[in-house]
């Protein structure tokens, strides 16, 4: 196996351009806050510094062939229209309520059917493999979709590092539970923490990635910082955000939305225009960013990724295993 030495500097350690250019202002402002001896000022300053650091660029990543001919959804739409109930149930809540969320320090604990339980720091993930840019369509179960250039690594790389045993049939992803940083968790709309899961072969499929960034920068808080799952042929809710625990199991994980509405949401949740949802039409979708007078588009089987994933489900009745 060829091991290439990566740079010791990880992207999250690099001072952002804005912060670097504003260093004198920052120093002055800190001075001022010492003069006024106000703790509140320093608090505010830290907050601004954090907000700036969440917009860090990621410079070293590999471009891939995925979705190169797709038109990207505007960045502002992707960061202001989110389903992330940990930060509130309205689409515009997460961008506002996640401002004080701290995605670092962060570590992911690996448990269950593995050789040895372990903790992986978020920095280690940045070093694990070269980050890849994957432009994927994302179809929400509510009937809208986006095209997002994710930066991440194949989940299979992370699974190799986790060393699951032969008993591992499923992977469970558990998100952060912290109602101080995630105010939406103070209301039991879902059974917190958020839990999602995949079958082992789905998790190992080359399309499945663990995203650490998007649009060439570190993942914004409202999009699941510091790391989230992206499974482009499934409905968006499968993409667990702010993951703190990955557990390998022998039995099918009890995922949040299946618990919340078993007749509406299935474990598989594959994008399927022929299996209707009790609430929303699944045969067509609205592409976000199209403006007022752009018609809906037809939803494709497996969100258009049949070639890559169709074989995973041969012999499975998809209308029953929705």
């Amino acid at each position: 196996m060829l091991i290439t030495k990566k740079s010791d500097v990880i992207p999250s350690d690099i001072t952002s351009k804005e912060n670097f250019e504003n260093r004198r202002t920052l120093i002055k402002a800190t001075g001022a806050s010492i003069v006024t001896a106000s703790g509140i000022f320093t608090g505010l300053l830290n907050r601004t510094a954090n907000a700036a650091s969440s917009k860090q660029k990621i410079s070293n990543f590999v471009k891939t062939k995925y979705g190169v001919d797709e038109k990207l959804t505007p960045y502002d739409d992707v960061t202001s229209y989110n389903n992330y109930y940990e930060f509130g149930t309205s689409k515009t809540d997460p961008s506002i309520e996640s401002r004080l969320f701290k995605p670092s320090p962060w570590s992911i604990s690996i448990e269950g059917a593995v050789k040895k339980n372990k903790q992986i720091g978020i920095e280690d993930l940045f070093r694990l493999a070269p980050l890849e840019e994957r432009i994927y369509r994302m179809r929400c179960v509510e009937g809208w979709s986006m095209v997002i250039p994710w930066l991440g690594l194949p989940l299979s790389k992370l699974i190799q590092l986790a060393e699951p045993t032969a008993n591992a049939k499923f992977v469970e992803f558990i998100s952060l539970s912290d109602d101080r940083m995630m105010p939406g968790q103070r209301i039991p709309v879902l059974d917190w923490p958020y839990v999602e899961g995949l079958r082992m072969d789905e998790a190992m499929n080359p399309l499945t990635i663990m995203a650490l960034g998007m649009y060439g920068e570190v993942l914004p808080n409202q999009n699941g910082a510091p790391l989230r799952l992206v499974v482009p042929w499934k409905y968006g809710f499968k993409g667990a955000k702010a993951i703190v625990k990955i557990r390998f199991t022998e039995t099918i994980p009890k995922t949040s939305w299946v618990k919340a509405g078993p007749n509406e949401y299935g474990f598989y949740a594959n994008v399927n225009p022929t299996v209707d949802h009790p609430r929303w039409t699944q045969s067509s979708e609205r592409r976000i960013g199209g403006g007022l007078f752009t018609p809906r588009i037809k939803t494709q089987m497996f969100n258009g990724y049949t070639e890559q994933v169709g074989q995973l489900y041969t012999g499975l009745d998809l209308s029953k295993n929705f």
């Binding site: 502002d76 739409d77 992707v78 202001s80 229209y81 109930y85 149930t89 689409k91 515009t92 509510e142 809208w144 209301i187 709309v189 879902l190 919340a260 509405g261 209707d276 009790p278 609430r279 929303w280 039409t281 045969s283 067509s284 609205r286 976000i288 960013g289 403006g291 007022l292 007078f293 018609p295 809906r296």
Partner: protein, 207 residues
């Protein structure tokens, strides 16, 4: 005396109320022209017009209890206008759905209506508002006589269906539709109390 003054005032400010009722529409145009309708403008317009239709429905249903509570007839003068504004926003709501959301793709629309209970009840509620809007004129009131009142009782069914429409549309957080349901329930309770007020008074059950 006060009643007469209130009547006069309401007549005078009727035109003002009319323009106030147009604010939600003006706001949509303003937001639209300044590209502030968010990432999903069509959904925004659908939600906004739907919400305002429901608000005007609740407002028009509040006029009778207000009259009963205050003893003033003045509120009733605005009831028809509020009801018609409900119809106006409901029309915009349905038009947005049919036109800019589905581009009159009736194949898709029919499937959506009969497959999804929330669309079905919403559609039924809208259909029921049409005869009420048509018969809202003074001459129609005269022509229908006693039947007018019976016909316009359909508003309670419309309200029930509209609240259900909202309740079934929401994925998980039921707070907002339940608030509307609560207001509707309160309006009904007020009517029941008023109807049986003399009985309640004599039987010492209440005040």
């Amino acid at each position: 005396m006060i009643d007469k003054l209130l009547n006069l005032l309401f007549k005078k400010i009727k035109i003002l109320i009319f323009f106030l009722c147009l604010i939600p529409l003006v706001r949509l145009f303003y937001l639209g022209l300044n590209s502030q309708l968010g990432a999903n403008p069509i959904e925004f317009i659908e939600r906004s017009t739907g919400t305002w239709a429901l608000v005007f429905l609740m407002l028009s249903l509040s006029m009778t209890p207000l009259r009963q509570l205050t003893g003033s007839n003045a509120y009733i003068l605005n009831r028809r206008m509020l009801g018609l504004f409900m119809f106006f926003y409901a029309c915009l709501h349905v038009l947005t759905y049919l036109w800019i959301d589905h581009y009159f793709d009736f194949d898709e629309i029919f499937k959506d209506v009969y497959k999804h209970p929330y669309v079905l009840v919403g559609f039924a509620a809208f259909m029921l508002t049409i005869p009420l809007a048509i018969t809202s004129t003074k001459s129609m009131m005269k022509r229908l006589g006693g039947r007018w009142k019976i016909l316009h009782r359909a508003v309670y069914l419309i309200c029930l269906l509209a609240v259900l429409h909202f309740l079934w549309l929401v994925k998980k957080d039921l707070t907002e539709p339940l608030i509307y349901g609560g207001v509707f329930f309160l309006l009904l309770v007020l009517r029941v109390i008023y109807k049986y007020r003399s009985y309640l008074r004599t039987s010492n059950l209440w005040w």
